[in-house]
């Protein structure tokens, strides 16, 4: 029983990090209908920017914010000047995904060239732990769960209570109709990619905080659980992605606790493959979203 509760605790912590990434990924797909595989390398970029800042004495949490902004700028530029023009020209979805995979590889190896291939670490984190019954979490994990909860709440408020949020939801739902309502969809897209880029960079730093050490493959490795979470929840549905992240995180930790730890990743892979084969629209995706997926 103790093992179960501990695993669930780890699962919540892992789920929080995955949620940061999955929600951003989902927003990008919902807004632009693009599976942005470069997201993984952008997370790596966030982690390394965070490393750069932390090595110069900046606190990890400030570094998280700054790295988020840096990656946000990269994301907006990437979408606006590479992806959006390709889509406008009628490039097929498959070619776009190849572009994002290739861009991810290029970015990853540029990072390697500048920072080196060896493992890096953010150094000693506070060893303080929190106990709640059998639940055991480190201070960093608790902070990340809190930060993620705050960010998700902020996103929810943005999407539902602000004009920009409504414009974003409108653009994601039906771009042409949104344009005819007078919404500047290009600018709204830029804003969406900026926000999701922030989440991406924050996710990268959060990942680096929670892992003992990391290298340039950080983003590539964690991209799969994030896509799994996003697909599970319903690609394009941020709230679904949050729930999906919890499920993926908990399932992975349970699998690691009760069987081979190496199978932690396999759980995420399996969830993703099964969802894609059985119910591609995910748990909360609409039937309309499925049409988008089947074209």
């Amino acid at each position: 029983m103790q093992l179960l509760i501990e695993a669930i605790g780890f699962g919540i912590a892992a789920g929080a990090v995955i949620a940061l990434g999955a929600v951003g990924f989902s927003v990008q797909f919902g807004m632009s209908n693009i599976l942005n595989i470069t997201y993984g390398s952008l997370m790596t970029l966030g982690a390394y920017v965070g490393l750069f800042l932390i090595d110069r004495g900046i606190s990890p949490w400030a570094a998280l914010a700054i790295a988020g902004v840096v990656v946000a700028v990269f994301s907006v530029g990437f979408h606006r000047w590479l992806l959006a023009p390709l889509v406008r020209r009628g490039t097929r979805a498959f070619a776009i995904v190849i572009v994002t995979v290739s861009a991810g590889v290029v970015l990853q190896y540029v990072i390697v060239i500048f920072a080196g291939p060896e493992a890096k670490s953010y150094g000693e984190q506070s060893a303080q732990t929190f106990h709640l019954g059998y639940l055991l979490m480190t201070a960093s994990q608790v902070t990340i769960v809190l930060i993620t909860t705050v960010l998700m709440l902020a996103l929810h408020l943005l999407l539902t209570r602000t004009t920009i949020g409504r414009a974003m939801r409108a653009t994601a739902s039906n771009r042409i109709l949104a344009q005819s309502c007078g919404i500047n969809t290009d600018r709204i897209s830029d804003i969406a990619w900026f926000l999701s880029g922030t989440l991406c960079g924050a996710a990268g730093v959060a990942l680096a905080i929670t892992t003992v050490s990391f290298d340039f493959s950080l983003g590539a490795v964690f991209l799969i659980p994030m896509i799994a979470a996003a697909v599970l929840g319903g690609i394009g549905q941020p709230y679904g992605a949050m729930l999906g992240a919890l499920v993926v995180g908990t399932a992975s930790e349970l699998a690691a606790a009760y069987s081979n730890p190496a199978y932690r990743e396999v759980v995420a892979f399996a969830i993703l493959i099964i969802m894609l084969l059985v119910r591609p629209r995910g748990l909360f995706g609409t039937a309309w979203a499925t049409r988008r997926l089947m074209t």
Binding site: T91, F94, A103, Y109, I113, I227, Y263, V266, L293, M294
Partner: protein
């Protein structure tokens, strides 16, 4: 054997195996529209099958490596085993990709399959010696009475002969009635099935044949380099092949041949000739630059010339009013 001569042998072997693999990927993706980003797994299957067929039983090797099989077969049988393994794995991958998903979704699913395969093989040590991989293959059996130099050139000859035969087999699938049916399936699946073509059977058949090409490629490669581990078939290796296909010309066999020449020789070998100072900065820097170059090439070509250097020849039907 001089260093340059050996280098030439290495390049030719790599070129030959890359050609077989690129042709297989082009058959699946360029001609038939199957977004198989897990192609590298068929190559790995062929390589592992070859290894498992040529090695002796694990106990005979002092239980230094753990693996299934160990049938101690001669070279030709092991290569056939490689082809079969590649084919079976190709069909299995095809079955996972049967759901009529959007192409980019399918591509991501295949990428995940390839990652999953690498993770499972790495983690499950009794299967294929996990992350450490398999080494110590016996020398390949034909021409064992010749000296090593001549045997290397004879191996190049075997690879070349396989390529020639492979090309003729390939043309049977990419041209003529079969080729036209596959392209019809790629261009408009609904229309093709409306006139009675069995889409599922064709897709699986194409993945089987493409997988066989991959399997032979892997088997020949591993026979040469005499060792194979999950590090050799990371998911980005499919990208190198995909770049060759896209740059050369999707759906055009000659184009893909040119593309493979360019990628295998100019890019992957070209970076080896970067100034020595690059490598003294850090080990492996040249390979990293190679990947950056490949990725950039793919993006540039999709932006500027997505049909590739030699575009697919669209048949022109003459006559008419």
């Amino acid at each position: 054997m001089g260093a340059w001569e050996f280098y030439l042998v290495v390049i030719l072997v790599y070129l030959g195996t890359d050609l077989l693999a690129a042709w297989g990927l082009n058959l699946e993706f360029g001609v038939s529209g199957v977004a198989n980003l897990a192609f590298i797994v068929t190559i790995a299957a062929g390589a592992y099958a070859y290894v498992v067929f040529t090695l002796d039983t694990p106990a005979a090797g002092g239980s230094f490596q753990q693996y299934v099989g160990g049938f101690h077969q001669p070279f030709p049988i092991a290569v056939v085993a490689g082809a079969l393994a590649g084919s079976i794995v190709g069909v299995l991958i095809g079955i996972t990709g049967l759901k009529r998903l959007r192409q980019d979704y399918q591509a991501v699913a295949m990428l995940v399959v390839s990652l999953m395969a690498a993770t499972v093989v790495s983690a499950d040590t009794p299967f294929l010696n996990g992350n450490a991989g398999l080494v110590l293959l016996p020398q390949f059996t034909p021409f064992s009475d010749q000296d090593p130099e001549t045997r290397r050139w004879l191996f190049v000859g075997i690879v070349a002969a396989t390529c020639v035969i492979g090309y003729f087999v390939l043309r049977r699938f990419t041209t003529g009635p079969i080729g036209r049916t596959l392209r019809a399936m790629r261009d408009d699946e609904l229309a093709a099935s409306a006139i009675g073509k069995d889409i599922v059977a064709m897709r699986l058949a194409v993945q089987g044949v493409g997988g066989a090409f991959g399997g032979v490629s892997g088997a020949l490669l591993v026979a040469f380099i005499a060792g194979w581990s999950p590090g050799a078939w990371a998911y980005i290796e499919t990208l190198a092949l995909l770049t060759a296909v896209i740059v050369g010309g999707m759906g055009n066999d000659r184009g893909v041949t040119i593309g493979t020449f360019l990628i295998a020789i100019l890019v992957l070998q070209g970076v080896q000739f970067l100034p020595q100072s690059f490598n003294s900065l850090r080990l492996g820097l040249r390979e990293d630059m190679g990947w950056i170059l490949l990725g950039t090439l793919t993006i540039v070509f999709i932006w500027v010339r997505p049909q590739g250097i030699l575009p697919e020849r669209r048949p022109k039907y003459g006559g008419g009013p």
